[in-house]
């Protein structure tokens, strides 16, 4: 008899909601056949059958939320291939998803890496590789594990004095409305705390006169090629990152190296109903502005509709937080660790500006805030970085030249 447990799908989840069972008791299942859909803090995922067999018992009700490690259902293994085939033919109950063969990602990883993943119950197919050609290396597995362990340590953080203070033991919680501090909220908190405690953040501010860019956008719209400013920002950003690769790197303290990554996956900080989530626009350097625009919108929609899959959330190398549409003219954003920098883009306002020939004019001025990891880069490098980016924003022709 094999227990199918809720395992960590790879994002450091601690619990998950059982959404749908694809099987019933008595069903004959093949190895890797999807059994149940689970909603975690961030994604919905399928658990599949570890072995071929018969579903003997379902232990959890649909809709229940269970902790990682909880047994969900029991399968009686069938070793004999012929018996399995016979049983499957006999099985009158249709497997809801027997047709849908789950697309398994082919993962590059050395046997040793696979071993450590297996020993630690990490599903290697869910790990994003940072090695050559996307190979999963030992550190990637350890990174997944690292996040798994951290929340426990964090929860021990408040000192005894604080906990015994009246603020925390507040006698009448009923007088205050409470909202659950769990799920995605808690995960955001964990990540933010982790980032802010380990990374010495520095934030600098800059502004760009995007008047010409807005004009160009209007011109493009007129010829039937509309794009959002965000897509343009990302294209310009990738070009800037290529020239200043330090900001596309990851610090590997254990091995004493800064790993400069040669792929450009831009995280898009997105305000979703359940809270902040950062889907990743992959390989932005290989995509046109229009493609970026389309994919960005799709990722945002998925975030709103809670349809993001694990893969959509992994592998980011740099994060952009476009709060412009919401307002704000400046911020001190927290870096999306282990990345090196995060760029927040704020509101564009019409403002008086001084032109090159000392005349007053009206321009569209956008502000931005760039937080970076001072362990990896210094202020001068960060300013050079934004200067270059601003240059591409202020004079769209320069960007076009880069694209040619």
């Amino acid at each position: 008899m094999i227990e199918v447990k809720l395992h960590d799908i790879g994002e450091g989840m601690t619990e998950g909601e059982i959404l749908t069972f694809f099987v019933k008791v008595g069903d004959v299942v093949k190895m890797d056949q999807p059994l149940v859909e689970v909603q975690t803090d961030k994604v919905s995922a399928e658990l599949s059958a570890p072995k071929a067999g018969i579903v003997k018992e379902i232990l959890i009700e649909q809709g229940e939320t269970v902790m990682v490690g909880t047994s969900i259902l029991m399968i009686e293994e069938i070793r004999d291939k012929e018996e399995l085939e016979q049983r499957q033919e006999k099985s009158t109950v249709k497997n809801y998803r027997s047709e849908a063969v789950r697309s398994q990602r082919r993962v590059l990883a050395s046997p040793y890496t696979r071993k450590i993943a297996r020993e630690n119950q990490v599903n290697i197919e869910d790990v994003v590789g940072t090695g050559e050609k996307g190979r999963v290396i030992d550190q990637d597995v350890y990174a997944v594990l690292g996040f798994k362990k951290k929340p426990e340590q964090q929860s021990k953080k408040p000192s005894p004095e604080l906990r015994s203070s009246s603020y925390f033991t507040g006698s009448k919680p009923s007088s205050v409305r409470t909202i659950p501090y769990e799920g995605r909220r808690k995960q955001i908190a964990t990540k933010m705390t982790e980032s802010v405690y380990t990374i010495p953040h520095v934030t600098h501010f800059e502004e760009a006169n995007v008047t010409s860019l807005l004009e160009w956008r209007t011109a493009c719209k007129e010829v039937g090629m509309p794009f959002s400013l965000g897509a343009y920002f990302i294209k310009a950003l990738v070009i800037t990152l290529k020239e200043h690769p330090l900001f596309n790197s990851v610090l590997d303290e254990k091995n004493g190296v800064i790993r400069i990554q040669d792929f450009y996956n831009i995280g898009l900080a997105t305000n979703a109903p359940d809270g902040l989530i950062v889907p990743v626009l992959k390989q932005a350097d290989r995509k046109s502005i229009l493609t970026i625009d389309r994919e960005m919108k799709e990722l945002t929609r998925k975030a709103q509709d809670n349809e993001l899959k694990g893969d959509d959330l992994r592998g980011g190398t740099f994060t952009v937080s476009n709060v412009g549409p919401l307002g704000s003219t400046g911020a001190t954003p927290i870096i999306n660790a282990p990345q090196t920098a995060l760029l927040a883009i704020h509101k564009t306002k019409r403002r008086p500006i001084v032109t090159k020939d000392d005349q007053l004019a009206i321009g569209d001025v956008m502000t931005m805030s760039m937080s970076f990891d001072h362990r990896i880069a210094d202020g001068a490098q960060a300013v050079a970085f934004t200067n270059r980016w601003v240059e591409l924003l202020e004079e769209p022709k320069r960007l076009i030249l880069e694209l040619m």
Partner: protein, 333 residues
């Protein structure tokens, strides 16, 4: 006491150690006989049998006609009827005429006779490139013999191992082929014990401890591998250097233990790559240690051509730089 201890060893080259082993064997056991071309008065093409005929007589150190098949066939007859013949093949490349005898009789009589007869003989054959010998003289054909059940194959890399393996081979009830690396015959000298001692057949030896890469070699390639390990040590790569010593049966435990620790392996031999013993080592690692591997196993071997003559040999034999390159490949994978 100290003085006698000092007398118990003498500095020897590998060929002198072989000679010493033969002398010890002839002294200790009357049934030991030597057979080979020019091994008597001449003392052998490499002087491995120098002085032995003078000491032990023509009945025990026998000059044979130029007929490898005849020599080995005679030795089989002697071995099954109570003698312990040690055959010298002048160069391993000359063993081919005797291959039929080895394949069909030397290696099989024990099985054919259901162990009523064993063939306690030793075949010594200098092998390998590196001394600018003419064509055919430089082959490394160990794979022909490790593929043949019923015969053990040993290969020393030092004078001490040469003597110890030869004496162990002689005591073994079954036939043993000892491949003696030509290139090392008169290379380094070493203090070798003068008494009888044996080096276990079937046991590899670890020459240095390292956590990063396992280097597997035998015979003349051990020196190359040691130099490569020293070169990469400066970059901070620590190698487990293993001298296999016995090529059949392989010491799988030592190989597995090391590779499971390092997760990487480089196999070095001067024989041809295709069908070479290196492939068996890759299989051993695959069978025993797959889940420990961090990178594919690298092989550095001779090329799939006859060993070329003259200075072209240098391009054929695995060099230190080729081994270093292979180590880098495994580490940077």
């Amino acid at each position: 006491m100290e003085a006698t201890k000092a007398q118990q060893t003498r500095s020897m080259t590998m060929v002198q150690a072989v000679n010493d082993a033969l002398r010890v064997a002839l002294e200790q056991d009357e049934t030991v006989l030597l057979l080979g071309e020019d091994i008597g008065r001449n003392g052998g093409v490499f002087r491995a049998t120098d002085g032995l005929q003078a000491q032990f007589g023509e009945e025990r150190v026998i000059d044979t006609p130029l007929s490898e098949a005849g020599i080995v066939g005679t030795a089989v007859g002697l071995a099954v009827s109570g003698s312990k013949p040690i055959v010298e093949i002048q160069f391993m490349g000359f063993v081919y005429p005797a291959y039929e005898q080895i394949m069909t009789h030397v290696s099989r009589i024990r099985m054919r006779s259901l162990s009523h007869y064993t063939v306690p003989m030793v075949i010594r054959a200098p092998y390998g490139a590196g001394i600018r010998a003419p064509e055919i003289h430089s082959d490394s054909m160990e794979a022909l013999f490790t593929h043949m059940p019923g015969i053990k194959v040993v290969c020393p890399s030092t004078p001490t191992e040469a003597k110890g393996l030869l004496l162990a081979a002689l005591r073994d009830p079954d036939p043993v082929l000892m491949m003696e690396p030509l290139r090392l015959y008169r290379g380094e000298k070493e203090d070798v014990a003068l008494n009888h001692y044996e080096t276990d057949i079937g046991k590899a030896t670890k020459l240095s401890e390292g956590k990063d890469v396992t280097l597997l070699a035998w015979g003349a390639m051990v020196a190359v591998v040691k130099k490569a390990a020293a070169a990469v040590a400066e970059e901070g790569i620590a190698c487990d250097v293993i001298d296999l010593r016995t090529l059949f049966p392989l010491d799988k435990d030592t190989i597995a233990e090391s590779v499971q620790k390092t997760g990487r392996a480089v196999v070095v031999h001067e024989a041809h790559a295709t069908g070479g013993l290196g492939n068996d080592l890759v299989s051993v690692i695959n069978d025993t240690s797959f889940l420990s591997m961090r990178s594919p196993i690298e092989r550095v071997t001779g090329f799939d051509v006859p060993v070329p003559i003259g200075s072209l040999e240098d391009h054929y034999i695995p060099s230190v730089s080729r081994v270093v390159e292979a180590i880098h490949k495994t580490v940077q994978f």
